[in-house]
């Protein structure tokens, strides 16, 4: 048990330095804030998607699903008739554009819905709403919140875009919020209406089922009657596949946010280390009076725990506010790269609070354990003197640096010998820890080297002050180096990545104009371009050639497969960079049962050239030989590339999702795009982009993807600024007498400020210099290990000097800004008072 007076003696000692304590709490709170915000945002986006899937699935336990063409509606009737399958409901889903947003349209059969979803529950029936839905085409129900956000009143007609066409819908009712929790941006309509919208009057998206464990025989009977490309999947499988899709993305964000927490923990360590050093006589006195080591340790841990808890409270509160901004960035990236999701808000969960509390409080306890052990495990007679502690700190620098070097070597070994993403992150963390252990020793070495170069006594004193204060500034300097190195590393990685993507786009995008249906829901849509439109464009006099593409998501056990079928124009072949290929790969691709797979696909599925891929075709499972692996930065999940004729043969789908148009020489793309619009506008609204526009848009999406990384990087740097401010304030407190003495011997305030600013500037400069090699190493790991293992992308590392120079300037500037407050305090201090002592 903690005796109250010893604890008060401890905590009062901490409160004597309120600025230090406040900065430590602020630093950790900022770290926790970043973590909480990222956790809420990523969890919110996933939860919103999961809730929407759950709500749309209702009480269905399983779904019957198929490939791009969906299921024939005769299957549903057959199952009900032959198997008496009453607990089944047909569903047609599609996405439409409304303004700049996306709406999901769910078509259901009101007569089959009982037991699945309650959209057509009592109050809906009272108003005969379902009768209107059945009889009046284009009538829909909308959730109250969605309707309010879209500004669609009851009975109002509004226009959406589907497959490039304008479609008029009418709101005839409101979905009950209680029964549609989690559904945002969803319209519910009668199944016939939605089939009509999709121009696929006989196809279903899926059939929902309620199957119990004991229905194994029934399941087998259903499976017997399924077409070859259809299968039964558990409702939970869809959620899992969504989580799997974004796993690497969210892991990257979490790793970034944890860095901010680690720097916050550095800060707590720094402050508590400082206050423990300042209180060593108090601790020794308490022990001399008979307070046991354990009682004192409990008091110190309690104090650290309280600081951590306070930081967690503040950080969690702030994080839940910041999360809204991050949520927009996260959901936009998910929309760009993975799936359509609309998240209007995300709330903090108990799990997030628990994780933040564990991180913040355990981080604080861990941070204080080292200085507490240092103060408590020495004999009290020794701790009554300050010098042995200082000597111990200085004596530890070399062993710490040696340990740091060993950790760096260990990091290289782990990166080289392991294969998993987690071990990649472990190598990254170990590298950062190793480098941070090297920092205090390196600062001392740099200060000594500089000291040898300068002759002026005042300058020598200025530089010597850095070495003398290493026990207080070492950890903060390490925190700043880590934050700067992260900035350099991430910037270089993004730069390398951007260069690779830019080169890839230049090589891949060869057509003059790219076309797809105007309904721009996501970059990978299964919507189709009308055959008449394709024919009209092909026959235009300005057009020399066209390439055609069809993108479909194949569903199979254990996740989906993105299949891209292409009919290449003569010029398109050169756009593919094959990283591995068998002999006469293109010949095989064009003539045999062969496909190419993208680099991420090969990486994630451990596929090699010569392997055979089993894919679920419309005619049953079929094997396709892998003839080559090509570079592709378009999807981190990977894509299977197949020639169009092969796709049509096995999937019997004549649809085209996208087109590339090659113009004859000297034709103006803008003019041609105008002509295409004029030619096809009556048939179908198309989205046309010139080569240059598409490249710009692709790079814009790329930049958007890393926007959140940039935000996190800045937040981490702010935490590091607080760290260095705390350290400098500590040093200033520690050196009160020395500074007063300098003023006593005649130094003017300006000269004193010069000395102090020179010291803080040098600290920043040293941090910037040390961060350069660490940042470069970090970047190499990110490029060659993390990116490769998370997304399967390989790329060349590009060393750009600009981020290095920027980091150096930033470090110096940051240190000078952080030094302003301590300098101001030092100048305000009465020399007489400071010389009198504590």
């Amino acid at each position: 048990m903690v005796a109250s007076l010893p604890f008060r003696a401890c905590i009062n000692g901490l409160l004597r330095y309120p600025l230090q304590a406040a900065l430590a709490v602020l630093g950790l709170a900022l770290g926790v804030m970043v973590f909480v915000a990222v956790d809420i945002a990523t969890d919110g986006a996933q939860r919103a998607f999961r809730l929407s899937l759950d709500a749309l699935s209702g009480r269905a336990t399983h779904h019957i699903v198929a490939g791009a063409q969906g299921l024939p509606d005769t299957l549903y009737v057959r199952l009900r008739r032959e198997l008496g399958l009453r607990q089944s409901a047909p569903v047609v889903e599609t996405a439409v554009s409304y303004g700049t947003g996306v709406l999901q349209v769910l078509g259901v059969d009101p007569f089959a819905e009982q037991g699945f979803r309650s959209y057509f529950a009592a109050d809906a029936l009272q108003d005969n709403l379902w009768r209107r839905l059945l009889l009046e085409p284009g009538t829909v129900l909308i959730g109250a919140r969605t309707a309010e956000r879209l500004g669609v009143a009851m009975g109002e007609r509004f226009t959406v875009q589907l497959n490039g066409r304008d479609v008029a819908l009418t709101r005839v009712g409101t979905l009950d919020d209680a029964t549609t929790r989690g559904i945002e941006n969803v319209l519910v309509a009668d199944i016939a209406s939605v089939k009509e919208l999709r121009d696929q009057p006989t196809r279903l998206s899926r059939i929902d089922l309620i199957l119990r464990d004991e229905d194994a025989d029934l399941r087998a009977a259903i499976e017997k009657r399924l077409p070859s490309d259809a299968r039964i999947e558990a409702a939970s499988a869809r959620v899992r596949s969504v989580q799997e899709l974004t796993r690497a993305f969210t892991l990257n964000l979490t790793a970034m946010s944890l860095l901010a927490v680690v720097i916050g923990v550095f800060l707590i360590y720094n402050t508590l280390h400082f206050t423990i050093l300042r209180r060593h006589v108090t601790f020794a006195t308490l022990r001399a009076l008979g307070v046991t080591r354990r009682e004192l340790l409990v008091s110190i841990l309690l104090e650290a725990g309280l600081l951590g808890a306070l930081a967690v409270c503040l950080g969690t509160l702030a994080g839940s506010y910041v999360a809204d901004s991050l949520l927009a960035l996260v959901s936009r990236t998910i929309n760009d790269l993975y799936f359509a999701v609309s998240v209007s808000e995300a709330s903090i969960t108990g799990a997030t609070v628990l994780k933040a509390t564990l991180l913040g409080v355990s981080g604080s306890l861990l941070a204080v354990s080292v200085p507490a052990g240092e103060a408590l495990f020495a004999p009290p007679a020794q701790t009554l003197m300050r010098r042995p502690i200082e000597r111990r700190v200085t004596g530890w620098l070399l062993p710490l640096a040696a340990a740091g070097l060993l950790l760096v070597a260990l990091s290289v070994l782990i990166a080289a010998l392991s294969a998993g993403l987690s071990s990649g992150y472990a190598a990254l963390a170990i590298l950062l820890i190793g480098c941070s252990l090297l920092v205090p020793w390196s600062v001392v070495k740099l200060a000594r080297a500089l000291r040898r170069l300068v002759r002026h006594p005042m300058l020598r004193h200025t530089v010597g002050g850095l070495e003398a204060g290493i026990s207080r500034i070492g950890v903060a300097e390490a925190a700043l180096v880590v934050a700067l190195a992260a900035t350099i590393g991430v910037t270089l990685m993004i730069g390398s990545f951007r260069t690779a993507v830019d080169q890839w786009l230049s090589s891949t995008l060869r057509a003059d104009i790219y076309i797809r249906p105007a309904q721009a829901v996501t970059g990978r849509d299964e919507t189709r371009i009308e055959p008449a439109v394709i024919a009209a464009i092909r026959n235009m006099p300005a057009v020399s050639d066209i390439s055609l593409g069809r993108f479909v998501e194949l569903r199979r056990e254990g996740g989906g497969v993105s299949l891209f079928a292409i009919e290449l124009a003569g010029e398109s072949y050169a756009g593919f960079h094959l990283l591995a290929e068998r002999a006469q790969a293109w010949q095989a691709f064009d003539n045999d049962m062969a496909v190419f797979v993208s680099e991420p696909y090969a990486f994630h599925h451990r596929v090699q050239v010569g392997d055979v891929l089993q894919l679920p075709t419309a005619l049953g499972e079929q094997g396709f030989a892998v003839a080559g692996i090509y570079r592709d930065y378009g999807s981190d999940q990977g894509v299977v590339l197949m020639r169009m004729s092969l796709y049509r043969r096995w999937w019997q789908d004549p649809g085209i999702s996208s087109m590339g148009v090659y113009l004859k020489q000297s034709q103006d793309p803008q003019q041609a795009m105008g002509d295409i619009h004029a030619l096809t506008g009556d048939v179908q609204q198309l989205s046309l982009r010139s080569n240059r526009e598409l490249r710009a848009v692709s790079l814009e999406v790329f930049d958007r993807t890393f926007e959140i990384t940039r935000v996190l990087r800045w937040l981490t740097t702010i935490v590091a600024v607080v760290a260095i401010l705390t350290a400098l304030s500590a040093v200033q407190l520690e050196r009160r007498r020395e500074l007063a003495l300098l003023r006593g011997i005649g130094l003017t305030s300006r000269q004193l400020a010069g000395v102090l600013f020179a010291q803080t500037g040098l600290l920043g400069l040293f941090a910037g210099l040390l961060a350069m090699p660490v940042g470069v190493a970090l970047s190499v790991l990110l490029v060659h290990v993390i990116n490769r293992r998370a997304f399967g992308w390989s790329m060349d590392f590009v060393l750009d000097a600009k981020p290095l120079a920027e980091a150096l300037a930033l470090a110096t500037l940051v240190a000078l800004i952080a030094g302003a407050l301590p300098v101001w305090r030092a100048l305000r201090e009465s020399p007489a008072l400071a010389l009198r002592g504590e």
Partner: protein, 232 residues
Amino acid sequence: MARRIELHGIYHSYVQGSVRQTVFEALSHTFAGAGSTAILGRSGCGKSTLLNLISGLDRPQRGRIRVDDQEITAYNEAQLALYRRRYVGIVFQSFNLVPTLSVGDNLRLPLELNGLPAKERERRVAEVLERVGLRELIDRYPEELSGGEQQRVAVARSVVHKPQLVLADEPTGSLDAENGTRAIELIRDTTVEGGHTLLMVTHSLAVAGYADTVLVLDDDGVLDEYREGIAW
């Protein structure tokens, strides 16, 4: 009451810079009986180290120390803390009051550690502060006191829990002549009144003159009775 402190073959050294300094090679001595003992010695001869060893603040590298029936050199850290808590009161040269606690709380601290009920704590604190003449300063903090007042509080704290042994390490070292005299008189009077055994180290003959017995610790780490002709 502690009547006997036995030191057997004490060896103690410490490292200063890169040099190992031996303080005691094989110190043996027995302090017998109650009353007050002053140990004289030059700076650096090991006077404070001797008190640190007897109080359990430091451990000898070799040898045994017995205080009455307790062999404190066999104690672990927790046992030593309890030993100090119950049996020892210490007066430091630099007072070492806990700066974050008021005068009253500094005195309550050893009593709380010994588990005395609140009422008894308050009675003892009032009584001891009365004895040292600082009753009105009970709510002040150490930094609000003069050096002399701080030392009087330190003396009060060393006896408030009625320890058997009071150890004073250069108790007048940080005070001027007038305050030093008042402090040493206070230490002597309070320990005599309370029946405590007082062991103090000093380099001042005048201070040593207040003790019943005066010993000298020479530069070789040998304790001897102070008598005419002994150089120190």
